[in-house]
Subunit: 348 residues, 2 copies
């Protein structure tokens, strides 16, 4: 009878059309960073049949790049793409969502944030600002920046006018350097005139665009204050809570795609950019051991002080420190050991 005829396998749904605005902390011309939001937004629109659309605005188009998080917290826009460490002025604990000097590397930061203690710590922390967050990009380990003169020992940092910010800037201040705050466009002329002595930005692919090798050819590594640098999509929690569950899930998957895409893109762009920079005159140097050791000790002192002042900072720091200890041992018998082998064999 009729009762046994199956209903056609079609779901009648009435999915709301949702349009959000996203502000990026990054300018359009740094396409590696700016592009993460575009990758996420396109994947999200594609997987919702264009029903959930997010329009991406570059830094400064709606709010200044470094106010992206606040614009989300106060619901000026629903979502932003930014780096947590820009907001250490509010709370020093913001550093750990992106990177903190001498802490996790790129894989470890992802592990800690997706599957480790960081997942809940970050969720609870950002919820305190009415914000929900998902990892959405990573520059990977950055370079230590461009210097007009060689750094032969820790003494050479004394009085050095260095364009660097955040906790890295605090560490270098304690080591005698004089951190400078400069917009990206001001770096080249300041180095050229000698009003600053050094500047850090990112890695070869992004640094190449600034042309700094022409005026500050000494290119140092590793960027010990930026061993990794994760970005997030930050979402106003009231707007998030209003979303249909399947839009939430689609956004979360699209953010994961953007995250993995970002790292893969940097890993494809950085190697040839490094070759070109060296061919154009950049001189690669490792930071001397005494600089790294002194910077490490200074950083650990700073962390003790910040932990004493701020229990949230201490909670994050203790968690990352414990994870780093175990993860570094594992790294020494796995990826690091494999990389060492490849480096050795390619040199033979």
């Amino acid at each position: 009878g009729l009762a046994t005829i199956a209903a056609p396998a079609i779901a009648q749904s009435s999915d709301p059309i949702i349009r959000w605005r996203l502000v990026s902390s990054f300018p359009k011309n740094i396409e590696t960073l700016y592009g993460c939001a575009e990758v996420m937004s396109k994947a999200l629109a594609a997987s919702t049949d264009n029903k959930f659309q997010i329009q991406v605005f570059a830094a400064g188009e709606v709010v200044p790049g470094l106010q992206a998080f606040d614009a989300v917290a106060n619901n000026t826009v629903q979502i932003c793409h930014s780096a947590s460490y820009y907001y250490t002025g509010k709370d020093t604990a913001f550093a750990f969502g992106a990177h903190a000097p001498f802490m996790l590397n790129t894989r470890q930061q992802a592990a800690w944030a997706y599957h480790g203690e960081g997942k809940k710590l970050l969720e609870d922390f950002y919820r305190g600002f009415n914000v929900v967050a998902f990892p959405g990009g990573n520059t990977t380990t950055q370079m230590g920046g461009w210097f007009r003169k060689e750094i032969k020992s820790v003494e050479d940092l004394k009085g050095l006018k260095f364009r660097i910010s955040g906790l890295g800037g605090q560490v270098l201040t304690r080591m005698g350097a004089v951190p400078q705050q400069l917009g990206i466009g001001d770096i080249y002329p300041s180095l050229e005139r000698g009003t600053i002595d050094a500047a850090e930005f990112n890695g070869p692919a992004d640094d190449e665009k600034l042309g700094l090798y022409k005026v500050a050819p000494h290119y140092y590594y590793p960027g010990f204050w930026d061993g990794t640098s994760m970005q997030h999509f930050f979402i106003n929690s009231a707007e998030w809570d209003k979303l249909p569950k399947h839009y939430q899930a689609a956004l979360q998957s699209a953010a994961a795609l953007a995250n993995i895409d970002s790292i893969a893109r940097y890993d494809v762009l950085n190697p040839p950019a490094l070759r070109r920079l060296v061919a154009a005159g950049a001189k690669l140097h490792a930071f001397p051991a005494d600089v790294l050791d002194s910077a490490y000790d200074t950083t650990m002192e700073l962390y003790e002080e910040l932990s004493a002042k701020n229990p949230t900072f201490k909670k994050f720091y203790d968690s990352q420190k414990a994870f780093q200890k175990d993860a570094s041992l594992w790294n020494q018998v796995s990826e690091f050991a494999y990389d060492s082998t490849i480096i050795r064999e390619l040199r033979r």
Copy 2:
């Protein structure tokens, strides 16, 4: 007038209900590997409001684990979760979708497959089998396995009965070892009775379940034949082409989520598993330099021979080799340099 009243912001859609079956190459009890398909399937169902559902079957439930790819190619099932290197018997070029001895590390494999030449090479190659593929998990660098006796030089490999397969097995054969094919459940009793001398499986988190440290306590690193090990979701191309575009996009994002989730999960599980194994008696050793050097030279000879026999192999090999050269240089001034610094500072 009425004409100016906006239509309500609701899209009327008739999304088809789609149910697929996925066969995994992995058993349920290796949850790190088996779980990737569950993570993808849940993310996909969640982002399509449960309209696109994929039921996951463990190895052997529908077809044997090592026939998962064939089951997709001939449309017995629509999708599988498997490792490309299982299928080198069809074509040696399959290795490069997962790993090849002494080739890319985990980040490099992802970069090459998502943004490098590997993207198109793999797409075209798998399409030749009527298959569409997306990366969907990675064990990361594996260990070199469990040995009853120490390996002090390349001489100790002569006659060694070693449970290992794929191109790694071919390399070890040329070095005098005698590769053995054994199911996972047979490894422990075979090592215990001494019918084999050594066995490789994966890394600490998965290896711990087999308890091999009790019968073959010498745990070697690095697994030079498994510097990374990427898995894929392989999809029958006719089934893929029939999907609505937004279901395709949702599946692609869900696969990316599963991929990043897999690496993060291993990176959280492996470090404490390694500690427990060492506490239980596992003895960690690096392979001696002469073993690594001889294995590298043997591998390069094998690659030349396979390249001469198989133009597809050559195309993949040339691409990965060129990428590795540049990427390894970049690694030495970025993540590897940072990791070296952290290892040094944690030991001071």
